[in-house]
Symmetry: C2
Subunit: 443 residues, 2 copies
């Protein structure tokens, strides 16, 4: 008599591409939480093959013992036993080729590649839909926070009114360190690099591009439209000075790098008209978002039925991102039906972008001016001439050159930019003006 | 030639039981967000019948025009055109009969009935599993917050270490009002009742039973075990005094009514050993949880891979709860495969409950004592005799009877209770002692 050693369910074989931070986290979760996973899905999950650039290179973290190591992506794509390709190698060209190849070969795909999905996602989602395959990407936006699923399913019956959040952990770590200690951007960046929160080249994070990739994916989920990545306004934090953080605090705000999107209205064909962008923003200190410290991520979504829903967690890291990858894999193991975008049509329309002159915000402006009589009057005259009214102003210090800090009432970004250009043209500025959006206390 | 007026997909017909707050919210969402729902699912969703106690009663909110109104639950159960029964009438006996009948008739069920699922859920989930049917209950825990789905899917690859949160909006409204204004429990309750946040009989909310129902469901999702509702320790907030809130603030805490569960370890058969309960708790003021104001709900889950994930939103109300009900319905319309509990086995084992003497916590104790020399010494001696060490103490006031407030280091609830009984036996107390758990600053 033969003794059956397991439930007999067919294992779900993974082809893992990349064995970096997230890949190793996934391998560890599949190993250490094996008993838990058995309770969750009848099918055991196995890493069958791992694709790496150089299989022979010595590694601090050993490969899982049962995995075949390969250097050719066709070894994953052509292996009939692999049901799911897990793309964790990053980059655009090769990763795109792998995902396309895997989907064309009828394999499900799970990926953490926000850049690829933001810039070329449309085609990949159509391909997955045509083949009836999963293209899972929970890990690509805010790591362990289940924001993809929340938009696709939890809030699916809502018209989403606004969506904004702290979508990049590195820049939040830097801003939080600057806020709590008063240190400079450069020093905070160096500290983040030493602690492993920032890459050697941090510009994707600090210039807002990583947040912009994630925002593009979130817009797609929230409104069912493609917002062309290249059209998204993006501003980073590398010019943010400790004094801006200090003045913001005096006014009752923390500066956070926000990805922001808002539904203005639907156009005549029912297509959403959106305002969106990534920019440093003054967030009222009594908001949960203002309290998001360290390298945490958070997203706040306002639905017309649910009201506001706020999610907070680890946006990156080996195990948090691995947790999201593993959740997508489990859904496949459980036999869930693919629902990659949350919309019936695999071809999403382009977003209609609200022209800047139709948007409005309050602004924080810091002008570095010569301390002589009449400067405030001249600046105020330029603002008034551009229909901008001043809510609060601080001019302080006894030196030749002093900061003049202004909080405006709501105006359009067009007016704000024109006013600042005119102030600059008067010759009173000793440095480029700083201008940040201010989130209204009732948002 | 015939012109097709819609996509031709078969509508998903609902039988709605109950047309109260949540039922009306659902009807409004299905109507007002119709265009959005069309993008999300090929199948139009229609309320075919509404079951009410008295169809003839005049109503402020009219029934949806196309719905048949009935008073006999068999009209829902026996209607072959109804695919989903939406149970929003509440209560145990009748609601249980309806859900059982619907499942036995092969219909999917969506419900917001936390009491029923907490107290008799096991049988209903087994029945649904046997028939391969959806038994959706996102709306039954924390309204619009997608915590059911997050535990079942988003964090499914994690061993959950702790789970706690503000699970009842009414009591949070009361505690928040007491905290911000210093008003008494009775006054805050009356205010909550006037604003519609509390029922005429508020005891389910203020005595912690509603939170306990939700905690029972969350424990089932997080650990795959049935924690018998009757064994869950529950303490409400009706005895919480403004002075407790004031002293807590002096120590750096806000008092919140928390549902709390923690995995201590697995027993030899791999079954989780849990510590759980509902009780007023001192939460460090720098925690996000401490900032949850108004009638909001929030849950914090710590997974061994994801780290901490914090979700915040509206825990009740017509549209927020309706949003969660509609999300479950959409999943059915989309043809999602049922995954009601998140576990393979439809029969969950009983939780193993950690004996109180194996748990530990710091405590806040407020003793109302006679202001005479030696009282603090006597109390301290009793505490020391029970192995309890004092972290901080405040004795204040010039009256005959003064509060003596003590924050202890970690001890067992058994020691704490014995110590308080001994203090009481010495005859120095002028009122029953107050004793609340304190959440450690690093939890």
């Amino acid at each position: 008599m033969e003794i059956r050693r397991d439930s007999g369910a067919r294992p779900l074989n993974l082809g893992l591409a990349g064995f970096g931070t997230v890949g190793r986290g996934l391998a560890r979760i599949l190993d250490e939480n094996r008993d838990n996973l058995k309770l969750r899905s009848e099918r055991p999950i196995r890493i069958r093959s791992i694709l790496v650039r150089d299989p022979a290179r010595a590694r601090a973290c050993p490969f899982p013992p049962q995995a075949k190591i390969c250097a050719d992506m066709d070894d994953l794509i052509r292996d009939p036993d692999i049901e799911v390709v897990v793309e964790l190698m990053g980059g655009l060209e090769e990763a795109g080729r792998l995902i396309r190849g895997a989907l064309e070969a009828g394999k499900h795909v799970v990926t953490a590649n926000k850049a690829l999905l933001a810039e070329e996602g449309g085609e990949l989602f159509r391909l997955a839909a045509r083949r009836g395959l999963h293209l899972g990407y929970e890990a690509s936006v805010c790591g362990a926070i289940p924001i993809v699923q929340t938009l696709r399913e939890g809030l699916s019956a809502n018209r989403i009114l606004t969506l904004f959040g702290i979508l990049n952990g590195t820049s939040n770590y830097i801003l939080s360190a600057m806020t709590s200690t008063g240190m400079s951007f450069d020093l905070a960046l160096r500290q983040a690099q030493e602690l492993g929160f920032a890459e050697a080249d941090p510009s994707m994070d600090t210039e807002g591009l990583d947040a912009a990739h994630k925002l593009t994916l979130l817009i797609r989920l929230a409104w069912g439209v493609d917002y062309p990545f290249s059209l998204l306004p993006v501003e980073g934090i590398s010019r943010t000075a400790p004094e801006d953080i200090g003045f913001a605090r005096e006014f009752g705000y923390n500066i956070k790098l926000l990805g922001y999107a808002r539904l203005e209205a639907e156009n005549s064909r029912g297509r959403p008209r959106l305002e969106a962008g990534v920019f440093p923003t003054l967030v009222p200190r009594n908001y949960l978002l203002a309290s998001v410290g360290d390298s945490y991520n958070a997203v706040r979504v306002e639905g017309n039925a649910a009201g506001s829903v706020f999610l907070h967690g680890r946006g990156a890291g080996s195990l948090p991102s691995g947790s999201a990858v593993a959740a997508d894999i489990l859904q496949i193991a459980r036999g869930a039906r693919p629902n990659n975008l949350g919309y019936v049509l695999p071809e999403l329309p382009q977003a209609e972008i609200l022209p800047p002159q139709e948007t409005s915000a309050s602004y924080y402006m810091r002008l570095t001016v010569l301390d002589r009589p009449g400067v405030l009057r001249d600046v105020a005259a330029v603002l008034a001439g551009n229909d901008i009214s001043i809510a609060q102003a601080i001019q302080r210090g006894q030196k030749d050159v002093v900061p003049l800090v202004i909080m405006t009432h709501a105006t359009t970004p067009v007016n704000a930019a024109r006013a600042l250009a005119q102030v600059k043209a008067t010759g009173v500025l000793f440095a480029d003006p700083v201008c940040y959006r201010v989130m209204p206390p009732s948002a």
